[in-house]
């Protein structure tokens, strides 16, 4: 008591200072997220408007699909498919890039363990080939255009802007072992590159069943939560309710980056039975065309007249369900993710996927607000 009385003014000041410092820290610091996007096309191309949007959004990181790997049953080994064609100049300087390799689950179901080891080497080599091709083309083009300060090309080269690798696979309990083995092998073969993996929500929600991948970073994919073939689903892409069902625990042992959906499509049903996807049909177009389409609410239209649309013969009584995640829903999803998911301090917040149509749907201002929402 005497001690306290004697030192009370000093201890009070100390307390006050510390409190103020704490409050200051707590209120003034925003979470430093990294603005990212997923680029999933086979050809890397952007027109001027897209480049403008890219800069406007201040994107610092890109998940860039390099190639897929699927099982080739003719030769009984996994083979690459649709390797990206990177055209220079498209990518801005100093853009951090994570090459993405999508591997089908069939590869792990069919491969023997020796083939997995070989696959890791082949993937690493293939990534190198893509990098080399792009970089050598970039250097050549640079040399044609610029005559001085050749070293400035360095900030455009892939080899200096790639520090990690994303392996994308919807592994199952039966392929978990093989898949995790591939990740381990890649870590050995590429010691200077961080190996990361995608995480589907069911894997996030069932770590005991799905296993925890041997990586220190995952990209949590918060979309395609339900089957689009199910008539009774409102929105198979994503919504807060469905997301909430998966995000029941907040102690997943690996800190995550997050990918959110900004794509859209129309699902066709006949008598409640799934008939296909129409990716190029526009909601507003259907809304305006009241001769052929009747809006029933809940983003559903009935077909009023038989019509040929692309290769689909739409008949009277058919139903279209437009799926799209509204900005409000995305904001709510972000809130939920922030609450439930252990996000990294330097988390990459990404949107799937880069497409002029999708960007226009939301507008760059709104997409920027999504990024900001994460950092608040």
């Amino acid at each position: 008591m005497i001690y306290l009385t004697k030192y009370r003014p000093i201890s009070f000041l100390l307390f006050l200072t510390l409190s103020l410092a704490f409050i200051g820290c707590h209120h003034s610091s925003k979470k430093p997220i990294i603005r990212s996007f997923c680029y999933w096309k086979t050809e890397l191309q952007m027109d001027n408007e897209e480049k403008f949007n890219f800069n406007d959004l201040k994107i610092k990181h890109l998940y860039l699909r390099f190639f897929d790997v699927d099982w080739n049953s003719f030769v009984n080994e996994p083979r690459p498919i649709a390797t990206v064609n990177l055209n220079w100049p498209v990518l801005p300087p100093n853009l951090e890039i994570t090459p993405c390799i999508f591997i089908t689950n069939a590869v792990f179901l069919q491969s023997r363990s020796g083939q997995i080891d070989t696959l890791a080497i082949k993937i690493a080599n293939r990534i190198g080939q893509v990098e080399t091709r792009y970089d050598s083309h970039a250097i050549q083009q640079w040399a044609n255009v610029k005559h001085a300060n050749d070293s400035a090309i360095q900030m455009f080269l892939l080899k200096d802007n790639i520090h990690d690798l994303l392996i994308d696979c919807d592994w199952t309990p039966s392929t978990q072992k093989s898949y995790f083995h591939l990740l381990d092998r890649l870590k050995q073969i590429l010691p200077t590159v961080k190996i990361t993996t995608t995480l589907r929500l069911w894997q996030y929600n069932n770590p005991l069943k799905s296993g925890i991948p041997p990586v220190s970073r995952c990209l949590l994919m918060c979309y395609n939560l339900q089957s689009q073939k199910d008539y009774n689903v409102d929105n198979s892409i994503s919504n807060t309710n469905q997301l909430g069902k998966y995000l029941k625990q907040d102690n997943y042992p690996i800190k995550c980056d997050v990918a959110l959906p900004i794509f859209r499509w129309a699902v066709l049903f006949r008598g409640g039975k799934y008939k296909g996807i129409l990716a190029n049909l526009d909601f507003k177009y259907c809304q305006m065309d009241t001769v052929n389409y009747h809006y029933c609410g809940d983003n559903r239209f009935n077909i009023k007249r038989d019509e040929l649309v692309n290769d689909q013969y739409l008949r009277v009584g058919d139903e279209l369900r437009f799926e799209y995640v509204s900005p409000d829903q995305l904001d709510k999803m972000i809130e939920l993710i922030k609450e439930k998911v252990p996000i990294r301090n330097d988390a990459r917040i990404s949107f799937f996927s880069w497409n002029k149509k999708y960007i226009d749907d939301y507008g760059t201002k709104k997409i920027k607000s999504f990024y900001d929402h994460f950092s608040d």
């Binding site: 190639f67 699927d70 080739n72 030769v75 083979r79 690459p80 498919i81 649709a82 390797t83 082949k122 080599n125 293939r126 080939q129 893509v130 091709r133 199952t172 339900q226 089957s227 073939k229 199910d230 008539y231 049903f269 006949r270 008598g271 409640g272 039975k273 799934y274 008939k275 009747h294 809006y295 029933c296 609410g297 809940d298 559903r300 009935n302 038989d306 040929l308 290769d311 689909q312 013969y313 008949r315 009277v316 009584g317 139903e319």
Partner: protein, 798 residues
């Protein structure tokens, strides 16, 4: 009362149940491919139209992607080589070398100078190794080199070593340069044209369209001939023309390529542009009516919708068009799909659109479409009838079966009979098969299908069709479709036993590959084998079915419908008992269950994990006693006990008996421990508890079945509630009143939770306890029953 816990347990229980069922539930939901489900009975064709296989009507984008399955064009090429080299070169040896020999092996043969050894015995190689055929040898080496380079590129799979096709591009350039040099020097017209073709093709593949255009004009136009090479070259000229932006001209050339070569039909079709502006201009380029008819035919093939107007135009231009009969078959297949598939399959549960502002539901739309489609079928038939009058020969035969089939579709089968009688000999095989099928359909529609002679006649047709299908697997779809038609015909006259077995027969042929995808195993349980009867069979139907299965001297028809469609007879007795139980016909139920061995439900029964608790202790009160899962359930004994309790309650108005009876019915509901008495499966907690998307999709959902008292008890505790009320009314003491009141609350709450809340716990919390709960917690709070079963959760509803 542990309400929330019970729901969690139930949810886990349901999830584990799903794993017991043999099904193809995929990770993202079960579905069937539309093409597997589609019905089709019309297959008559004029001649060998194998090259049209990609264009046959299909729910898939293309029926097949094999452009010339019988190799007409390749055989024509082989014949040209034989004409060049002489008859010593056998056609099959030529075919082998050109189309089957590995380019790598061929090149090694050249490099090592041992081609003759490598292909020892091949008469074609023997000929080309002769000195006089040296130029041909050089040509073939180049052609095989290009083949090696082409195959790697076309594959969607890339190689790990070649990210950049630059290697291939450079190698191809080298070969192309070689060809260009040879072209300037070679005199042999046969080889010159072949070199020109290779050159043209490599230019098009490299997108050098201007050069390709010139090459064609230089080497093919001045020297027109009927060789297969010149016909193939036309396709590449068309591609080059398109590449140069001359769309209409390219379209016209594609139509010529489509018309003139079999192997290039599919690719020409894919390139062909049927948008109306370009189409009209393409037609204006046609030099004669035949070419116009081809162009219109291509446009027809592109449209999966109605095409009668265009067909009329084609007929007017070229009545004997080789495409016409094929297009007519396609049109009939479309109508079959629009009318038969919804009629004979269970696809499309009612799509309730009420309340969405759309004032029709799917059934109305379906009915509107049906009317439209039948009218369309009539319009097509009228058109075919007009063609019939002016035709003859095989085409007239074809039209006769087509008209008869359209009458069947319209529902006027008898009118089609006159046309079947007008077929003239000789009758082409596919038309003959179609005629027999039409006669079978006539029997189904116009005769008494219960009569033995009619059944014999029908099964004769079906067995003949099975033999045909073994040779031509496409007829499995007819077998599938015919069995579905037969099934519905027997169903409409109330013979669900035969209808169900025919339904299962249809499933055997559904996948058009001749393999029986349904298990032929007749002993193990497969719900699908009894699912149809579970939904639609009456007790009488079950008696008929059981008698048939046990019959020794079956007729041919009976043998046919029972083959691979039945399982252990005890499952049918069990099903009969279950149906009787749903009807609350306890004597019939007991009789049926008594026929089953006593240990059936514990030893062999698929659901022994669901019937292993005391059915007279309501599952809801399980927390008060330790649950035991060793109960040896015997359905016959259980029914006997229920009967006894019913008798007791009538004579003595004994509330204890009534409570015990009510407990049993509670346990036979969705929420009880013996739900498998009433149903073979349960589904979502918060929907119609007996709905099963997988089986309902395949077998249909029986609305009338769901109204049976047993199923009303299953879904709403109807019988349980009835007997608890009676128990309450006749109670002799407060213990009985307390128990009856408590269980009445349980019934009401469960039904409210499941059928009104749909899992919404916020809504569930708003449940206001009924008088029964209030009485239980107030009037009977001094009873032992209250002390045993009062649960803190109950207070939430007071």
């Amino acid at each position: 009362m542990e309400l929330k816990k019970s729901s969690r347990f139930t949810t886990i229980f349901l999830i584990s149940l799903l794993t017991l069922f043999q099904s193809t539930i995929l990770a993202c939901g079960w579905f069937e491919y539309a093409e597997d489900v589609r019905l089709s009975l019309f297959k008559a064709k004029m001649g060998n139209l194998s090259m049209f296989r990609p264009f046959e009507y299909s729910a898939n984008l293309y029926n097949s992607t094999d452009p010339d399955p019988e190799g007409f064009d390749r055989n024509a090429n082989c014949l040209e080589w034989q004409n060049k080299l002489g008859k010593d070169a056998q056609l099959n040896d030529i075919y082998f070398f050109l189309y089957k020999a590995s380019p790598e092996i061929v090149e090694n043969g050249f490099v090592n100078n041992n081609l003759g050894e490598v292909f020892e015995g091949n008469s074609f190689v023997t000929q080309i190794l002769l000195a006089k055929n040296n130029e041909a040898l050089k040509y073939l080496r180049i052609a095989k080199k290009l083949e090696a380079l082409k195959s790697e590129e076309e594959n969607r799979f890339e190689t790990w070593d070649n990210i950049d096709n630059k290697d291939y591009a450079i190698a191809k350039l080298k070969v192309r340069d070689e060809i260009q040099v040879v072209l300037t020097k070679i005199n042999d017209d046969f080889l010159k044209q072949r070199y020109a073709f290779l050159f043209l093709r490599t230019l098009v593949e490299a997108s050098e369209f201007k050069k390709a255009d010139l090459v064609y004009d230089c080497y093919f136009i001045p020297h027109p001939n009927n060789s297969i090479i010149s016909k193939w070259a036309l396709l590449f000229k068309a591609i080059a023309t398109k590449g140069l932006g001359r769309r209409e001209e390219a379209n016209y050339l594609f139509s010529l390529a489509f018309d003139n070569c079999e192997e290039k039909k599919w690719i020409s079709f894919r390139y062909f542009n049927d948008s109306i502006g370009i189409l009209n201009k393409t037609i204006s380029m046609a030099k004669n009516d035949h070419q116009k008819a081809v162009i219109l035919s291509l446009a027809c093939l592109k449209n999966p919708g109605p095409e009668l107007n265009r067909l009329k135009n084609i007929e007017a231009l070229e009545p004997n068009s080789p495409f016409f009969s094929f297009l007519l078959s396609r049109e009939i297949n479309k109508i079959e799909d629009w009318i038969f598939t919804p009629k004979y399959t269970h696809y499309g549960p009612s799509c309730q659109l009420k309340g969405r502002g759309w004032d029709t539901d799917f059934n109305q739309a379906k009915a509107a479409n049906f009317k439209k489609d039948v009218q369309y079928a009539q319009d097509l038939r009228v058109f075919l009838t007009s063609c019939f009058k002016k035709s003859n020969g095989q085409f007239k035969n074809f039209l006769a079966v087509a008209i008869s089939h359209l009458y069947f579709i319209e529902g006027n089968s008898e009118l089609g009979r006159t046309y079947l009688g007008q077929l003239s000999i000789p009758i082409q095989t596919s038309i003959q098969v179609q005629r027999d099928l039409e006669l079978c359909l006539l029997d189904i529609k116009t005769k008494d299908i219960q009569k033995n002679e009619v059944k014999q006649s029908i099964v004769n047709y079906v067995l003949d069709l099975e033999k045909t299908a073994k040779i031509t697997p496409a007829y499995y779809k007819d077998l599938y479709s015919l069995n579905r038609v037969l099934s519905l015909a027997y169903s409409e006259i109330g013979d669900q036993a035969t209808a169900g077995l025919l339904f299962l027969k249809a499933e055997q042929f559904k996948y058009c590959d001749g393999l029986n995808h349904r298990s032929p195993d007749t002993t193990s349980f497969d719900y699908f084998k009894i699912g149809y009867f579970d939904r639609y069979a009456t007790l009488q139907n079950m008696d008929t079915l059981i008698t048939l299965i046990q019959k020794h001297n079956r007729s041919t028809f009976e043998n046919y419908i029972c083959k691979y469609t039945t399982i252990d007879i005890n499952y049918y007795y069990d099903l009969k008992g279950t149906i009787a139980f749903r009807l609350d016909n306890l004597p019939e139920a007991e009789n049926a269950f008594k026929k089953v061995p006593a240990d059936f439900w514990s030893q062999k029964y698929n659901y022994n994990k669901q019937l292993n608790e005391d059915p007279f202790k309501p599952k809801e009160l399980k927390y008060h006693y330790k649950r035991s899962f060793n109960f040896q359930f015997n359905k016959a004994t259980f029914i006997a006990e229920l009967t006894k309790l019913k008798t007791e309650r009538l004579s003595l108005k004994n509330s204890d008996s009534l409570i015990k009876l009510a407990n049993a019915y509670f346990n036979c509901s969705f929420w009880g421990n013996s739900w498998a008495m009433t149903s073979y499966y349960i589904s979502g907690l918060y929907t119609n508890h007996q709905k099963d998307d997988y089986n309902d999709m395949l077998l249909g959902y029986s609305e009338s079945n769901s109204k049976l008292i047993g199923l009303k008890n299953f879904n709403e505790c109807a019988l349980a509630r009835k007997y608890y009320l009676l128990a309450l009314q006749n109670a002799q003491n407060d213990e009985q009143r307390a128990m009856a009141s408590l269980m009445l609350h349980v019934c009401d709450f469960k039904v409210y939770l499941g059928n009104s809340c749909h899992g919404n716990w916020e809504k569930a919390k708003k449940y206001k306890g009924s008088k029964f709960l209030i009485d239980f917690c107030s009037k009977y709070k001094n009873t032992t029953t209250y002390k045993n079963y009062n649960c803190p959760d109950l207070k939430e509803f007071l």
